[in-house]
């Protein structure tokens, strides 16, 4: 059944209640790592603090850390206020860090607010309570993946489960959102992602598995992990920085590298 939202007849049902009502199998997909992306200009201050600190979010009106489930879904800013553009840095945490997540959304809320998710995205507004899935349970995102994508592999490669079209609302609406052609909006792999919010600081020494940064910022990595303060040293991906490449190109490269790492992590798990 096509979604009722596409006809605009009724507001979508709460995603959380729908997911709770659906039967979840015992063998849900394995939990995936979560990734926070920031900018190179702030890397030094993050390193000196040794943790990610929540920042005031104008959309939600509270201090939050934004992360994405299972990938580095960095979205270069369309218009900036302070600087022309920024180089990304990415922090990938092991699934154990999911206990820190307060809530999940089945899309990039920033992209939706800025109109980058097209007409289907606009129809999901107001989205804050309807699409919020409370966190606290490490299985929450795996249930979202199961019901929306059927498997981790489908989620990672952005393949929405066609069965969503016949499931209760709001899954058909989400299917429509995730399968519409958004290339004209400059939205690519970020079209299918699960956004995670943490209201608490996240210690880098605790669950960090992998990080990416411009290669000349390696001294910060040394400052973080050369002191033997933390037992486990994460894998790093220092990306090339002899010239300033377009952020979009770098972001895509980081996303691919993160996926490669997650793939290895999944195999090892």
């Amino acid at each position: 059944m096509p979604s009722t939202a596409s006809s605009g007849a009724a507001p979508p049902a709460s995603l959380d209640s729908t997911l709770r009502a659906l039967v979840s199998p015992a063998n849900l997909p394995l939990p995936l790592p979560i990734v926070h992306t920031s900018i190179a200009r702030w890397f030094g201050s993050i390193v000196s603090q040794g943790r990610l600190e929540p920042r005031q979010c104008p959309v939600f009106g509270e201090r939050l850390i934004y992360l994405f489930y299972g990938g580095a879904f960095y979205r270069p800013s369309e218009f900036t206020t302070k600087n022309v553009d920024e180089l990304p840095v990415a922090f990938l945490f092991e699934p154990a860090a999911l206990t820190k997540i307060a809530r999940y959304y089945p899309f990039d809320t920033g992209a939706l607010v800025s109109g980058r998710l097209g007409a289907s995205g606009d129809r999901l507004r107001p989205f804050r309570s309807a699409f919020q899935v409370p966190g606290g349970d490490i299985q929450t995102p795996t249930r979202m993946v199961h019901h929306l994508f059927n498997s981790n592999e489908n989620y990672i490669y952005g393949r929405v489960d066609p069965d969503c079209q016949t499931k209760p609302s709001p899954l058909p609406e989400l299917f429509e959102l995730m399968t519409q052609d958004l290339t004209s909006k400059g939205t690519d792999h970020r079209q299918c992602c699960i956004e995670c919010h943490s209201v608490d600081a996240m210690e880098l020494g605790q669950h960090l598995l992998w990080l990416a940064f411009p290669e000349n910022h390696y001294p910060y990595f040394v400052q973080l992990f050369g002191s033997k303060r933390w037992k486990r040293i994460p894998v790093c991906y220092p990306y090339r920085a002899h010239a300033i490449f377009h952020t979009r190109e770098i972001a895509y490269d980081i996303h691919q590298q993160a996926l490669r790492f997650i793939e290895l992590y999944r195999k090892a798990a």
Binding site: A40, R41, D85, N216, H217, P219, P238, A243
Partner: protein, 424 residues
């Protein structure tokens, strides 16, 4: 159409200078930023009120002919910005890295630029500096870092065989100066890593060095010439020796050069005669011996006693000669660590630990005392306690000693003195 683009300034997303930067300017009535892409340049419109660094009139003047399609910008600071042609990026970065007046102190930025040159010699040199920095500040990170960098260099076009096989091989050479003397300071937040000591070394090493290669084999001469041709700082003078079983090298007339690289294949006695010959003619010559047996204990010690400053096997020479040469030309040593420590022990044993460096007569009493203490392997603090003077005064005397002996590192000062003692 590049003539429509008017460069106004730049943005520095890396946050610190020196760094590659993003050109910002007007294209028609739009404010745009120009990004590098793997296939060229990409023009991106930015907000009219976007913040960026406006160039002053001098910089604007220098960059008047900037072409956003064919050129990129590199900034030493907000008002010292240079443009280079994308097609000549390799050469540009090779120049930046070798120019002492444009000193870039973050070793990891240097390595990033070195990879862009695709020159194995330059990459190896910068890899070594980064490895030294890491070995001094975070030794646990060295192996995984090197493995990753080696793979990345190979990916960037540096052939696998041109890089040492592991970080240990990269660092195995003589280098036992204390961190403060190696010029390494703590790194963040300003990412300034190398002190003027290091800068001075780099400046010295960028001068042209005349190198005479002496070998009976045309193929060896050819190979070393080829290796050294990769770096523009060497003026190579090949000299083919007689290939008879007992060549008369005592009466050979070698050309004058700063450094002599001697192929020890001519035999032990003939090599010894050649070394004596060169030192008699040119007392300030610096000698490097290359051969398969030269790192053996007895042979190595005898070479060191004769005044040789560099010892390498053929395999090592292929990888390290171009790095050993500037160091040896500046009074340093390039000797395998094991051979060196064995030699030091042998000198200490034979001298019964009475280490008076009589050969240097122009030392003050205090300098002599400090030197004797250095030979006992005491730290500055220990010397200060022993002589009842301030540590700062010890540093002053050590600095004078380095200057009088014409060396840059404490390790070289100790080794040079021991070598002189061994020879007398």
């Amino acid at each position: 159409m590049s003539e429509l683009f008017h460069l106004l300034g730049h943005d520095c997303p890396l946050g610190t200078y020196p760094a590659p930067v993003v050109p910002v300017g007007r294209l028609g009535d739009k404010l745009v930023a120009i990004y590098a892409t793997t296939s060229g340049a990409e023009v991106v419109e930015v907000a009219p009120d976007a913040h960026f660094t406006l160039h002053d009139s001098d910089t604007e003047d220098v960059l008047r002919n900037f072409s956003h399609r064919n050129q990129r910008l590199f900034a030493y600071d907000a008002n010292h910005v240079v443009a280079y042609n994308v097609s000549q990026e390799h050469e540009f970065y090779a120049r930046v890295l070798s120019n002492p007046s444009d000193e870039i102190r973050n070793p990891f930025l240097r390595l990033a630029l070195a990879k862009a040159t695709r020159d194995a010699g330059v990459v190896r040199r910068e890899l070594t500096d980064c490895a030294k920095y890491l070995a001094a500040s975070a030794p646990d990170l060295v192996p995984s870092w090197y493995e990753q960098e080696r793979a990345s260099a190979v990916k960037a076009g540096i052939e696998d065989y041109e890089l040492p096989r592991d970080a240990g091989a990269l660092l195995e050479r003589l280098d036992f100066a204390e961190p403060e003397e190696k010029g390494l300071t703590s790194v963040v937040p300003n990412v300034a890593i190398v002190t003027p000591t290091k800068v001075a070394t780099r400046r010295a090493s960028s001068k042209i060095i005349s190198v005479c290669i002496l070998s009976p084999h045309p193929s060896v001469l050819g190979e070393f010439e080829r290796i050294l041709a990769k770096a523009s700082q060497f003026m190579v003078i090949p000299k083919q020796l007689e290939s008879t079983p007992a060549p008369d090298l005592r009466s050979l007339d070698p050309p004058k050069a700063q450094v002599y690289v001697i192929d020890a294949h001519v035999g032990r006695q003939a090599t010894g005669a050649l070394l004596t010959n060169i030192l008699e003619r040119f007392a300030d010559a610096h000698l490097i011996v290359v051969g398969d047996a030269v790192t053996a204990e007895a042979y190595g010690y005898s070479l060191l006693r004769q005044g040789v400053k560099g010892i390498l096997t053929y395999t090592e020479a292929r990888e390290q000669l171009f790095r050993a040469l500037p160091l040896v030309a500046n009074g340093g040593f390039w000797v395998p660590r094991a051979l060196l420590s064995g030699f030091v022990d042998s000198v200490l044993t034979s001298q019964g630990r009475r280490l008076k460096s009589d050969s240097v007569t122009s030392l003050s009493r205090r300098e002599q005392e400090v030197l004797d203490s250095l030979l006992e392997n005491l730290s500055n603090k220990e010397i200060a306690n022993k002589l009842n003077i301030a540590e700062r005064t010890v540093k002053f005397h050590v600095s004078n000693l380095l200057s009088k002996f014409g060396v840059r590192r404490r390790a070289d000062l100790i080794f040079l003195t021991l070598q002189r003692i061994a020879r007398t």
